[in-house]
C-alpha cells in the first residue's frame, strides 16, 4: 500500500489509515479532519533531515530543568518546547512553546485532556524527533509522534537513583533510545548510560 515514490494521494491515504488504526476513538476524528485540511503531507526523503523538527517535552520542576540542560544538543533543530506551566517560557528564547495540563496516571480525565492537546501539538508540529525527560506528557507525546514516524529519545530523570521510573519501563517498546543517568541502572536490554545532566 505505501510505496516510496514521492508524495501520492495513495501514500497519503495509507498514512491516514495507519494512523487511524492505532489511536483511540477520541483522537481518530481529529486525525482525519486535520489531515484533510492539511492536504499535502510532505514525506521527508530517506535519511536525516538537514534541520530536524524537534519536540522537546517535559513535566515541571526537575524534569523541565533537566530538559533545559540539554539545549546545546538541540542546536540546528527547529525546536518546540512543551511543558505544563506558562511561567517556564521565560526560561527559553524564541523557540516555539506550548503547554499541556499536568496529569498523572490516577487522573483519567486529565490524561484524556492532555492526550487531545498533545495530539493537536504533534499533528501541527509534525516532529522528526521527540526528546523527553519525563513524565506522563513525554510518554504520550512519544506514543503519538511515533504514529507519524518520529524517532524518540527518553532520558530518565537523574532523580531516579535506585531504579528507573515506571514510565521508562512503559515506554520501552516505543522509544528508539532510552537513557538512564546512573551507570548502575543501565541494562543490556534496558536503558543505556551515556552520562548525566550533571
Amino acid at each position: 500500500m505505501s510505496t516510496r515514490a514521492g508524495v501520492s494521494s495513495l501514500q497519503h491515504h495509507a498514512v491516514v489509515r495507519r494512523s487511524v488504526r492505532w489511536v483511540p476513538d477520541g483522537l481518530c476524528e481529529k486525525t482525519l479532519i486535520i489531515r484533510s485540511i492539511n492536504g499535502q503531507n510532505k514525506r521527508e526523503p530517506q535519511g536525516a533531515p538537514s534541520r530536524p523538527r524537534l519536540l522537546a517535552i517535559a513535566s515541571g520542576g526537575g524534569h523541565w530543568v533537566q530538559l533545559l540542560r540539554l539545549r546545546p544538543a538541540f542546536e540546528g533543530c527547529d525546536v518546540t518546547f512543551v511543558t505544563v506551566s506558562r511561567a517556564y517560557q521565560q526560561d527559553i528564547g524564541t523557540e516555539a512553546f506550548q503547554i499541556v495540563n499536568d496529569a498523572t496516571r490516577w487522573d483519567k480525565v486529565g490524561l484524556i485532556k492532555m492526550g487531545l492537546k498533545l495530539a493537536w501539538i504533534v499533528l501541527t508540529v509534525r516532529p522528526h524527533v521527540v526528546v523527553s525527560t519525563g513524565a506522563a506528557p513525554g510518554y504520550f507525546a512519544i506514543r503519538l509522534a511515533r504514529l507519524l514516524g518520529a524517532r524518540a529519545l527518553w532520558l530518565d530523570s537523574i532523580a531516579n537513583v535506585e531504579h528507573v521510573s515506571m514510565t521508562c519501563e512503559l515506554v520501552a517498546k516505543h522509544a528508539d533510545l532510552r537513557l538512564t543517568q546512573w551507570e548502575h541502572l543501565a541494562r543490556p536490554d534496558g536503558p543505556k548510560f551515556e552520562g548525566a545532566v550533571l
Partner: protein, 151 residues
Amino acid sequence: MPFDRMVRAVDDWAGARGRRDVFAQIGSTDWRPSNLAWSALLEPDEFRRRVREATVLVAHAGMGSILTALEAGKPILVMPRRGDLHETRNDHQIATARQFLALGRVAVALDEHELPRKLDEIESLAASEPISRYASPRLLAAVRSFIHDVR
C-alpha cells in the same frame, strides 16, 4: 504538592532562633508561617533574584531545587518528601537525597527533627563554584548523535 512538615519545621526554627532573614516559597502547603516572609508562588524572575541573593537554600529533595542551587553555586540543605505521608508519589526523594549527599552536592536533614539541628549549622555550609548550565559533554554528544541520526 504541599510540604507542611518541612515548612512548619523551618518556621518553628526561625521563631526559636529569632531569625528575620528567611524567605519561603511554600507552594500549596497549608501551613501559614509566622516567622518567615513567604509567598505561595514566585514569578520566575523574582525566584531567580531570591536565589541569587540567598546565602543558603532549604528545599525538598527535588531535582529542580537541587540543580537550581548547584547552577547558582549556593549550598542547599534538603529534606526528602515521603511517599507514605502522601508528600509525593513514592520514596525516590530519600534515595535522591542519600545519593547527592554521598556525592557531596547537598546537605541532608532526613526529617523534621533533624532539620533544626542542620539549620543551626547552616552558616558552615560552604558555597561552591556554580556548575555549568548544561549537561555533561558525553550526554550532549549522545543526544546530538541521536537527533541527527549519526551512526
